[in-house]
Symmetry: C2
Subunit: 561 residues, 2 copies
């Protein structure tokens, strides 16, 4: 069968990212098989990211999946590689738009079920729990999960076999030469797939700019054990809750040092329950609730808590503030940030470290000791993976633009064929023939604004950004049929400096401007409320710039009596 015959029969195998290339989080990959217009689709992961200061009022950002929404009747399923929010966090928000079955191993499924329950859709979602290493088919896709090591249990690479070739979608992975809890990345199985023949490796790029390989969880465990052992008083450890190996390491170290473990924070509790259900934490009794903290002598307690990113309402921030209702620290206690700070959270994390330091509490972070390791492959790990899987092409995903570019360069240096870069929304034909970008589809970001999902950069968010800079003034007036004022004007100011640089109170300035406007305009002109409102609005903004230095939003209401 020639390549042309094959294409006529089965169409093409395409890869399409709707999120996660050139940005952090929101991972969402699609594999399509068939002729254009009649492709079957398989989705791998559907993650979210957290909003920053440039998205005021937004908590969470999701990938724009409108393309696949339009094709949802041909979407055969969604495979979740692992339990991290940047891979499954958008499912509870967006599943109602897709309604496809979801496939996940037990740990991710357990956490996902909880989210679906919170969203009130657990009953509707066909969530299929599959065992690690499972192989199954969805129509034309022959799918196999292969375990990879990562910073949360049950991370999986997804092997997608099609008549046009096999794709290895790496998921998030690392080579942990000294793994703690999770199995090592399944070298044997990956080598096997390499021998079978791998068309494309679609691969994690997070650390493609970091040379060498990385220490392992066991190295971190040893550091933590030593720190806990040497501590004379209370120890608090904040970490990513989903890193169960880390929780396990802390539990073991605490036990060895004759300490009990107290957990604080809802997500910590939730992960521990899920991990226990999956058999990763043998002794649940070891994890005491927050209430137990106060009754344990300082030298007999370790507290594991959430809030390593400085989240203001999480346990760590409240402990640092001494405002946590149940967990109080004193001078000489020790806090360990067994985590890395995600870009954007630096100020919040540093502020917490300083609040602790000011109270005489020792702080240890990854800058001081080996209390954290990355969950992603560095350059030597990537090269190793290439040697196992022996792909014809490497498609870098999962990383900022610089990581993606560095990964592409690494692949080229390793002698693999250069591919056109598959940015979000750029549909890459993997087979048949030479890979190329064949289409561009809508992509972008959806903002979760309260309970409403809006398009990127909605008007409401843009207005809030302006409000956050210069506040708002609303003036409300009543005029009669002759254009004369009825009663006193009402002025609402929100976020406005009441005293100005020129010493005239803002309210007096506005009253004067209303007076002026009425004086300047003839009664007939005043009856044109649109004109008068606009004149007043402009003069208020102009005056505020002079007296305050900023132009607030301004709206003028004129009631006709």
């Amino acid at each position: 069968m020639t390549s042309q015959d094959l294409q006529n029969k089965t169409g093409e195998l395409v890869f399409l990212s709707l999120g996660g290339i050139g940005e952090i989080g929101m991972n969402c990959s699609l594999y399509g098989l068939g002729p254009a217009g009649d492709r079957r689709w398989l989705m791998v992961d559907l993650g979210m990211t957290f909003a920053g200061e440039h998205e005021p009022g937004i908590d969470v950002i999701l990938p724009d999946i409108s393309f696949i929404e339009g094709e949802r009747y041909r979407l055969l399923g969604l495979v979740a590689t692992h339990a991290h929010e940047d891979h499954i966090g958008a499912i509870a928000h967006l599943w109602p738009r897709l309604r496809a079955p979801i496939y996940a191993t037990k740990f991710a499924a357990s956490l996902l079920a909880h989210k679906l329950d919170e969203a009130g859709i657990e009953g509707e979602v066909p969530l299929r729990v599959i065992p690690g290493g499972h192989r199954f088919t969805l129509e034309c896709f022959d799918i196999e999960l292969v375990g990879v090591n990562h910073s949360t249990p049950e991370s999986n690479a997804v092997i997608i076999r099609t008549p046009l070739g096999t794709v290895v979608h790496s998921g998030d992975w690392r080579i942990d030469r000294r793994p703690m809890l999770a199995a090592a990345t399944d070298e044997t199985r990956l080598r096997c797939i390499g021998r079978e023949g791998c068309l494309a490796l679609v691969c994690d790029s997070t650390n493609a700019m970091s040379e060498g390989d990385s220490p392992g969880e066991r190295d971190v465990a040893e550091t933590l054990a030593k720190l806990i052992h040497d501590a004379e008083r209370r120890v608090v450890i904040t970490s990513f809750a989903s890193n169960v190996a880390r929780l396990n390491a802390v539990e073991r170290a605490a036990r060895t040092s004759g300490r009990r473990i107290v957990t604080a924070g809802r997500s910590m509790r939730r992960v521990i329950e899920a991990a226990h259900r999956c058999g990763y934490l043998k002794d649940m009794a070891a994890f005491l609730p927050e209430e137990a903290f106060a009754d344990l002598p300082p030298e007999q307690v370790v507290c594991l808590c959430t809030g390593s990113q400085g989240e203001p309402r999480a346990a760590m921030a409240r402990i640092a503030d001494n405002s946590h209702p149940l967990i109080a620290l004193d001078e000489g206690d020790l806090v360990i940030f067994s985590s890395k700070t995600i870009p954007g959270n630096e100020r919040a994390v540093i502020a917490i470290e300083n609040r602790l330091a000011r109270r005489g509490i020792d702080v240890v972070t990854e800058h001081d000791a080996l209390v954290h390791v990355t969950g992603h492959p560095r350059r030597e790990d990537l090269k190793q993976f290439y040697r196992w899987v022996r792909p014809r092409y490497v498609v870098p995903i999962h990383g900022e633009a610089r990581h993606i570019m560095a990964h592409a360069g690494l692949a080229r240096d390793a002698g693999l064929a250069a591919l056109p870069l598959a940015g979000n929304g750029r549909m890459l034909r993997l087979a048949p023939g030479k890979p190329e970008i064949i289409d561009e589809v809508p992509h972008g970001r959806l903002m979760v604004d309260g309970q409403v999902i809006t398009r990127q950069e909605g008007a409401a968010m843009r207005t809030r950004r302006k409000l956050s800079w210069a506040g708002m003034i609303v003036v409300s007036l009543v005029i009669d049929a002759h254009g004369e004022r009825v009663g006193a004007p009402q002025i609402i100011m929100a976020g406005i400096a009441h005293e100005t640089a020129t010493a005239t109170p803002t309210e007096a300035i506005i009253h004067d401007l209303i007076e002026d406007t009425f004086t300047k305009l003839a009664p007939t002109q005043r009856c044109d409320t649109g004109h008068m409102g606009e004149a007043l609005r402009r003069s208020i903004r102009r005056a505020m710039l002079i007296h305050w230095g900023k132009k607030p939003l301004c709206r003028v209401i004129i009631h006709r009596n």
Copy 2:
């Protein structure tokens, strides 16, 4: 003379920080001599810091100097150690409250004069330009400047000799073993002062958590020279404008590689002018204006620009966006961030790097090559300084709480007497007798809101923070004497989602609530406009929580007709 006699005659020597201890920026130190209630004061530095996302609408933050405002008739002068914003940036804002003479060496004075001019007060301010190494007296204070190496020219330690002892106020400094432009830290003079006898060293703590010593400006210069030499196309270098040694290094490297230098950004231009006036840049003609960029072949140009912190309106951000009117880059060009990212700016800087990478432009940062070094002393440098100056006490200033604590620990480890920590506002008696905290004075942060300077956490800023999260709704109604509505209610929404999660438009929800309120309340009750307004306000906020998930600010205006 016994210590008691001395105290009766001269009172006490005190140190008081109004900013910069336990926080970044806003450095402001005071030295007081005399009995309580009749002290003469000397101020060293008066800096600012930049606001972050938690201070919406604020650009700049200043130290609260109300204590010294109250004592300003006994404030003899302000000595500026060097030209950085965190040391002189608050002077133009706060000098009118102090009106004391300012002493600075030429480079800092030149930049300061420009700021005073912008603030329209240059004519009023007695700005005394003093030579490096100058010694002069201000009543009871015998003051000497000693040159120290730092990341801007003319950084000075201030030696303050008093009848009660000598204080060495280090300013910002480092030991650059291979200095480029500025003189090395004046070891000879410092040793001399050490032999004379030093009571207290009041010292930079920024890098007190960093082991070892640091590479020098010459090492950076060599890296930059190599990168520029090897580059095949355009090179853009963004750096802190005030680092004149760095500018000089780039200029030299460009010349060697047969390239011309184009500068972009107002502050870059301003520093270059000041540096030229002070004789630090011999060949001003070497720096071409932005307009020259387009005419130079790619392999013959280096552009030096502002914006290394990701400032959205600075040259670097606009170059990355390809929106700079005069400077355009292409694939294969090179951008070097010869800078470190200040905490809080990570997201903005990373976003710029990624925008460049996406366009195929190479990016080199301090993580990739030695293109930046710190301007502050690491632990080995601090110990070296102790050995030169041999102070009896070390007072750690200039750093976050963790740095201050680490510096105090280092001083103790070096065998120096432990001092009570002088936090901002805690007045530390240095002599006579054993140092102790003897008073606590008002301190804190002033926010520059437009042209208005407000106290920390002003109401306007707090309101803007709420507005940025959930926006604002204003309802305006007219009722007649019988409590009946006149005309239609007016609704203003700002920053509010117009469509809700329940599919009812927000405006319809509010109209219904107004309707309900009128139905529920009897006409006499409606005449109590306070009551009716509050009832409506509450029901709108409650309804928004249900339909949108957030509670906006809400104000109700009721006009009585």
